[in-house]
Structure formats: C-alpha cells, structure tokens
Symmetry: C2
Subunit: 156 residues, 2 copies
Amino acid sequence: MIDSPLSNDGADIKKVAESTGFFSQEEVDCVAELWQDYLEKGAAGSGYYFLVDRQDSKLRGFACFGPRALTEGTYDLFWIAVDKAFQGQGVGKALMHEAEQEIKRLGGRLVIVETSGQPKYEPTRAFYHAAGYTHEATLKNFYHEGDDLVIFTRKL
Amino acid sequence: MIDSPLSNDGADIKKVAESTGFFSQEEVDCVAELWQDYLEKGAAGSGYYFLVDRQDSKLRGFACFGPRALTEGTYDLFWIAVDKAFQGQGVGKALMHEAEQEIKRLGGRLVIVETSGQPKYEPTRAFYHAAGYTHEATLKNFYHEGDDLVIFTRKL
C-alpha cells in the first residue's frame, strides 16, 4: 500500500536506496539529506514530497518529488526506488502512478526525471519509457566525461 | 574591474537584477536568497559563487555560479546580469570570461546555462551563443505552457 511516510522511515528509505545497487554513496547520502529537510520543514516547506510503499510493515520502495523553482506546475521526480528483493512486482509502477496523482493534486502539469545515459541504467530508462515518459533531451558528459544526463518528461 | 563581492553588495546586486527588466520579482527574490546563503555559509559552503564588476565604486554587473550536485566538474551559471545603464559595453562578456576562469580554477570542465525560449530572451540566447555556448537541449513548456527551457552548455 502506498502512503505518506512515517517520521521514523528515514533509515528504511536509505536502506532501500542502497539495496538497488544503482545509487552511489554520494547519491544515497543525498536521499538522506532530502529526508532530513522534509522532516524538519515538512513537504511544502522543504519542497520534497515522499511516498512509501509498505506491505506487512515492510517498506518496499519510495518516491521523492517536488516543484521546480521558478516554474508553474513543473515537478521533478527526484527518486523512485524499490528494494532489490521486491523488484519486478509492480511496486515501482504503483509508486510512479501515485506520485503523478499527488503531483496533479498539487497543481503539477509536467514531470521531469533525470537519469544517466550509461548502459547500466538501461533498465531505468526502459522503466520510464514504459511509464509513458519521453526522452526529451541529453546533456553530454554531464555527470562526468562519458556519462550523459538523459532527461525524460511526461505531460500529466 | 571584476572581483569577489563585498559583504554589503547585496542590495546593489538585487538592484542590478531588477534593472535588467529580464527577471520577474520571483527571480529577483531568488537572487537575494542565494546571496543570503552565500553570506551565511561562504561560497564553498553554500555552493554559490559570486563575482561583481565595479567601476568607480559603482556595481555594474554580477555573475553567480556553482557546482551541480552529483556531478564531477559540471557548473551551473545561475545568473549573469548587467545594470541596464551599462549594457553593450562588454561588462557581461568580461563577467562571463572571469566566471569561466574561476570555474576552471575550481576544477570545473562543463558549464550549463538555462534560459527561456520566449522571444523576449532572444538577446540573452544570442549573448550565450556569442560567448561560445551551444544550444544543447530544449524542454518544452518547462516554465509554463508555451515557455520552454533552453539549455546551453560549454566545455571549458
């Protein structure tokens, strides 16, 4: 079931991010920072909205998104991650759907997701594609030399 | 002459941003927020680096840039603005050059500038183009419906 997170979900959220094997330590630390900001200021105050998927009290995945500054209704989907043990069961798809519904309720009209162009992230790109996202732009050598930024968008 | 700002330059920086006529009130307020963050935490701590152009104690323009999180050597040039009374005199070009030199000193290798695709910003886009920037991507309807994000990059 997808719901807002509890205030003590931080450690599990970090564990899920680590379990995927897709995020560097720096990126996992970044999730922890956004979570801290969310705890301190709330979703509207921090600009970071979280949703979690929980089954039998086990946190299986989470999504984090928020409004892009200086835009009207454009939202970044910063993170969507599913515990390695629960992948391939539709958890990511359900989180994506619920995140989009929440973004719509908040007045959002455009969702942006950014990922890497490296071969390793092909499953990630396929996931966004299957979810109705369009590969709209590429910034070459963005993350580092040879590692492009790939930007997907979806109009809600 | 281009130099680091003084701690009491905040009001003049805001005035320069307002004078251009290119920035909304929300955007001018955003400059003020970045400046406040810079004052409190310093450039490295805040991630916002400022440079100012001053002549006979008059602040004629400023630039603000910083490293993009989770990248190696990619810098955003957030703002470059010249007081309306001093435009067309090469101040922007000199600020751009000095910002790029500083970014190089900091280990930067790629600069990203974002602007609007609206006709009003054609001079801005022409300025980046003349400075050696390449129009690398467009995100349609990013700012609001009918107002695209245009992304320029330059490899240093």
